[in-house]
Symmetry: C2
Subunit: 728 residues, 2 copies
């Protein structure tokens, strides 16, 4: 049990030059204990004298622009696919960079096109013989001979990035001035040696720094930029920007085969995180991870030898340093800092193993887009806090923090008071929980996806996300199916497993329920991972012998052998994909006498119609949208299955999920201690400190009855929005 004091601070705040008084005032009111500089700021001397931890940001790959300008061969490179061009004659000319930002990308003239590029006929998906195309470096054009009219062609080329995505974002969105920053790729030994040298110097020049806060170790998230300098493709956890001829050659030595340009551009899908990965791409990820861990560990070791702690900000850098990888602990970091907008993001931060301190960076950042006249920043903060708090009750969080300009926040007294409240509540939470974990219901819940553990608690966006225009385009806000957010605040032990886990190790004996949630074709549902009879047999057996299976959206979706839902036999249903139009459906009748029926109300939100219909007579239909199944339950062997069309996040849906998981665990007849069944009140019990907590998420007073550890029923009364701690 960590020793936590309520009087010591627990918050990291950004400094701001010329605003020392504001910083000091909020530092005290908000119980801060650490200050940090950031990309846009430096630490004023007067603040650096405070008795606080000093976090100093270092982003080595962007640190030495002179070196970057001298060595274009070390800049970040990536494979891009030209936008397809239709041949209208037998000779076709393609300007590979057409449609892409000329401010950001250059054709990489260090790598021989004939060796590193690829020209394809996309209509027939054939590689064009290199004798049939030429690249003219003067015109920057590729000319294809013997093209077939009305076929589409693409050139996959290696682009050199001459403007870093973050620098570009800050310049274009936040109107930051200054030169266009370039990023260096430390995979090149000469470049790495230079950066190491630079970091040694940096350590010497920052004697007051107590925590080195790394943002980007080596590679950035993927942002492809169009010719209007607009984002055209984003993948916050993608491996697209890790490529260089040198790394590809080393990959070939390490894995015994050569990757092609197509392995990266992937017909224009770019191996998006939401896609189930190929084995070749997984190999590349492993290769990159090995390098990044090695490089990061060297930097961390240097900081430690300088008597400094180390932190990593997970918002900017994820590639190769994913905290759920076993290799992550080899880096030796002390503090994980996560940008946290909701419960899922919090669990992503708090659930990883290792001894790191967990620090949540909250939204909104104190930037002018939110902290502007007429806007109330409390709204966004409160909406986030409600979700985050639920998740905090399940796994311990150690610290919190904010970013941006405190002087801007200081213009909003309501917001200052609101953060004062949050910090007070967080202090009470630390005091009462002492960094221990609340009690969970028996049995583990496993979330099955193509990624499994490596991408635990990564938001699995639903298709609806694309069609939602968020008020702030750069801030994550999830619409549509969002089971993970519901789950983030429920008292279950959760683990994330992959199809490979099941094939190689089977299903853990402690797993009581397996969840498969996501759109068809996505890594979350599983896509072609379902094209494997071993997986189907393992899951049927799991349920047949007493397990529970929860499918949401398109569980087990893969068209084969007469089924779209490969486990449709377990769920007792099928999705209409225009292949079964002749099957006659009887009008649905809603079950009123199922155990789960009592929890179904009109206020539940199952999102869009499912296009799913019953294909078993012994299925209990608990909710439907017209004739579209929304919630069904079924027994299969000794086990149980539940299907939901969608599960959007709201408090009532979340509580429904709790009841569903209890039923699927066959635990519904057990008495559970300190378990809330109230939609608006969460209760958590911390056995190691003997404390119980109850939070009312509603604006009305609420009362609920729960069972204490002695088996007695206890009433808890809460004022509106009250968060109460009870000694037990």
């Amino acid at each position: 049990m960590k020793q936590v004091s309520a009087t010591k601070g627990h918050m990291t705040l950004p400094v701001e030059v010329g605003q020392e008084e504001v910083v000091l005032d909020l530092y005290q009111r908000w119980h801060a204990d650490a200050l940090r500089d950031s990309d846009g700021t430096t630490m004023p001397e007067s603040l650096a004298e405070q008795d606080s931890d000093i976090y100093s940001v270092v982003c080595l790959v962007r640190a030495d622009q002179q070196f970057a300008n001298q060595h274009p061969e070390y800049l970040h490179r990536k494979y891009l696919m030209s936008f397809p061009v239709t041949a209208m004659a037998e000779t076709l000319t393609i300007q590979p960079l057409d449609g892409y930002s000329k401010d950001k990308y250059e054709l990489d003239n260090d790598s021989d096109p004939k060796c590193w590029w690829e020209v394809r006929n996309r209509t027939t998906n054939t590689v064009i013989d290199e004798e049939l195309w030429q690249f003219d470096s003067a015109t920057q054009q590729v000319t294809i001979q013997q093209a077939e009219p009305y076929h589409e062609y693409t050139v996959t080329f290696m682009a050199r990035q001459v403007w870093d995505s973050v620098s570009m974002y800050n310049a274009l969105t936040n109107d930051w001035k200054g030169p266009r920053i370039k990023s260096l790729d430390p995979y090149h030994p000469e470049c790495r040696a230079h950066l190491i040298q630079h970091f040694a110097r940096w350590l010497n020049e920052h004697p007051k720094t107590t925590v080195v806060r790394f943002t980007t170790f080596a590679f950035l998230f993927v942002i492809d930029t169009g010719e209007q300098n607009q984002d055209i493709y984003r993948d916050w956890t993608g491996y697209g920007e890790t490529v260089s001829p040198r790394a590809l050659e080393d990959f070939e030595k390490r894995f015994g085969y050569r990757l092609t340009p197509e392995d990266f551009v992937d017909a224009g899908y770019y191996n998006g995180t939401y896609k189930a990965p190929s084995q070749r791409y997984q190999d590349w990820m492993t290769f990159v991870q090995e390098f990044v861990v090695d490089f990061a560990a060297e930097l961390v070791k240097m900081a430690h030898e300088n008597g400094k702690k180390t932190a990593m900000f997970q918002g900017d850098h994820w590639i190769g340093t994913e905290p759920y990888l076993e290799s992550y602990q080899k880096i030796g970091l002390d503090i994980n800092i996560g940008a946290v907008e909701d419960g899922v993001a919090l669990r992503r931060l708090t659930d990883s193993t290792g001894e790191q301190t967990r620090e949540a960076r909250f939204y909104p950042y104190f930037f002018p887009d939110v902290f502007r006249e007429g806007n109330d920043p409390v709204v966004e903060s409160m909406s986030n806090w409600v979700k985050i708090r639920r998740a905090m009750l399940q796994k311990p969080l150690d610290r919190i923090g904010y970013g941006g300009y405190l002087s801007l926040a200081n213009n909003f007294p309501n917001f200052v008071d609101h953060v004062t409240d949050i910090s007070k509540e967080f202090g009470d939470y630390l005091q009462n929980t002492q960094g221990t974990e609340s009690q969970k219901l028996p049995g583990k819940v496993a979330v099955l996806s193509a990624w499994g553990k490596s991408r635990s608690w990564l938001q699995n966006q639903a298709r609806d996300q694309r069609f939602y225009v968020p008020p702030r385009p750069d801030v994550m806000e999830f619409v549509g199916n969002n089971l993970l957010e519901c789950l983030a605040g429920l008292p279950f032990d959760v683990e994330f497993i992959s199809f490979d886990d099941i094939i190689q190790n089977g299903i853990g004996e402690d797993v009581k329920v397996i969840i498969n949630t996501g759109d068809a074709n996505s890594a979350w549902s599983g896509a072609d991972c379902w094209d494997n009879s071993d997986v189907l047999v393992a899951l049927r057996k799991f349920v047949g012998q007493g397990g529970g299976l929860l499918g949401v959206c398109d569980p087990s979706a893969f068209q084969k052998n007469g089924r779209y839902f490969q486990l449709g036999d377990v769920f007792g249903l099928e999705k209409e994909t225009a292949l079964t139009m002749g099957r006659v459906a009887m009008p649905l009748s809603i079950s009123k006498d199922h155990y789960l029926s009592q929890f179904v109300t009109d206020e539940l939100d199952f999102g869009n119609p499912s296009y799913v219909y019953p294909q078993a007579t012994d299925i209990a239909v608990l909710a439907a949208q017209g004739q579209h199944l929304a919630l069904t339950a079924r027994n299969y062997g000794k086990g149980r299955s539940v299907y939901m069309g969608n599960l959007l996040f709201n408090m009532k849906n979340a509580r429904l999920l709790q009841h569903v998981l209890i039923w699927l665990s066959s635990n519904e007849t057990q008495h559970h201690v300190w378990l809330s069944d109230h939609p608006f009140v969460d209760v958590a019990y911390y056995p190691k400190t003997g404390k119980v907590t109850a939070v009312n998420y509603s604006s009305e007073p609420q009362t609920l009855t729960v069972r204490n550890t002695d088996g007695e029923l206890v009433d808890i009364r809460l004022a509106s929005y009250e968060w109460k701690w009870i000694s037990h």
Copy 2:
């Protein structure tokens, strides 16, 4: 030009024993000129004496029940797949008929299971070696050895049908009494000889009959029946019930290869009409068509030699006698009778080639389900009539008719008046059009599907159909995307083409617009027919050189080579199927200055959200549902493309389609004579009779301005619901 007299009748009515006075009264009031007996009635002597055509129904395959009972080996057979059974041990027993009606099906004990059945592991999709399974005729069970636990198994078996689907329907739905009727398969030469003999006798016994009205020549539509005697699968135009060992053996001789049971059960999809057919199944259809045409032609010849005309009722029999097949004319029929519930059904009847008289059988039938106290049968009839009338203006219809019990209709005076009005309007239509066709806009519109011409004007149900519970389950009523119904009443020459047509013959020079409309995976959209670069090139070239392409729902949908919509390059858009979540969409802005913008109003109905987003900067977004594209237009080369998310049938949507097709034909700057642009008024011009007609479909008076053949603008004023004929 046919000579049509307004005084002679134009309607066929059913007789009813004991209701001769009612029949005679309505016969005169409704301008009937023909009487028919039907399945449930026989012709009373007094009515047979009328100076009218006498239609007599004959259904040879059900005509001799004594013979059917003596020869179970000649009964209709079909392949059924047992419902999948999961092995829980290494020995698995399957009762093939489990889940199927025992009143309707028997296991066919004339065909050796080891020769004609198939056992499959559906989890691995492998055929089980026949040494590993046994059929026990005593227990009617199949036992499988060495089964793999938690794999699913099926038995595909040949079932003998001991209760005809129509007989069963009438017994269970209309409460008809009498024995359970069996149907004979005339493919067996001995059976065919017997039925021919029976028909010769029947002809002799029906001297007063002037028209032999065939219902089922040989094979029925597909209805699979579950163990509660409920319909579980329906395919009104499916070939599932045409199978016998003899026919399969002959097929092998004719085509040089053997069909397997799997070719018929198709993993449980049963080659539904909405599925793109395999080449093997198309071969089987050809085989069946050759037989049916030969048999039907023999019967028609016998009737003709007896001095009688022949008619076929297309509602009961379609298989092998599809009027759009070239072979259809070999049968030699005189009258095509179609059951007509809407405009599409009418065009299905009227658009086929050949010299046959076209007679429409209208709904509702005079049966107690509709003609019951408290119900107003005018509602259904009027709703149908509005749609049918639009389509009648485009292609000539010769006769109309009704079915059921006239005594029931006679209880509803409003309905009697309503049919009097319809008959009067129809008489005026015949008089003014003289069986000629109205003028069309220049250029053909081709509807592209996997079926093409052979299934012209067949309703392409959308996925929404499954989730709609119609008030009367046995009556077709189409919901969701329904472009064909909109098109059925518009002044365009329409033809239906297949992908094979394009590959083998190219695109006709007279085709100005190609339409592809339907759900992904369906025969209507095309499914894997889009997996063909020749097709893509032909269509790109067609548009590139000036053609128009209209895509509705999921046009060109097939996941391959980086696209879901294979012609997404022409449309300038893509559908989100969870593979492109990383692509950043700019918020849509609606074009206000496109030619088509003027026709976009809030009252248009594009159905469900499309999940389609722009992937071109030069796309004009004309309508959207949130960020889902609903209507877009784009130029491509010298041609044009339009996408619609859905197009439900209503008058405003139909008129929008007219404007879209004119724009796609690049005809928007031309003056068109007698063309309505009013959503509620149709205008048609009959150049051969010099007549113009205008119909007001609304309850309000309407005025519109149209251009006459001299190029002058003419105002037409119509009272509510007025149908006016104008001499020009």
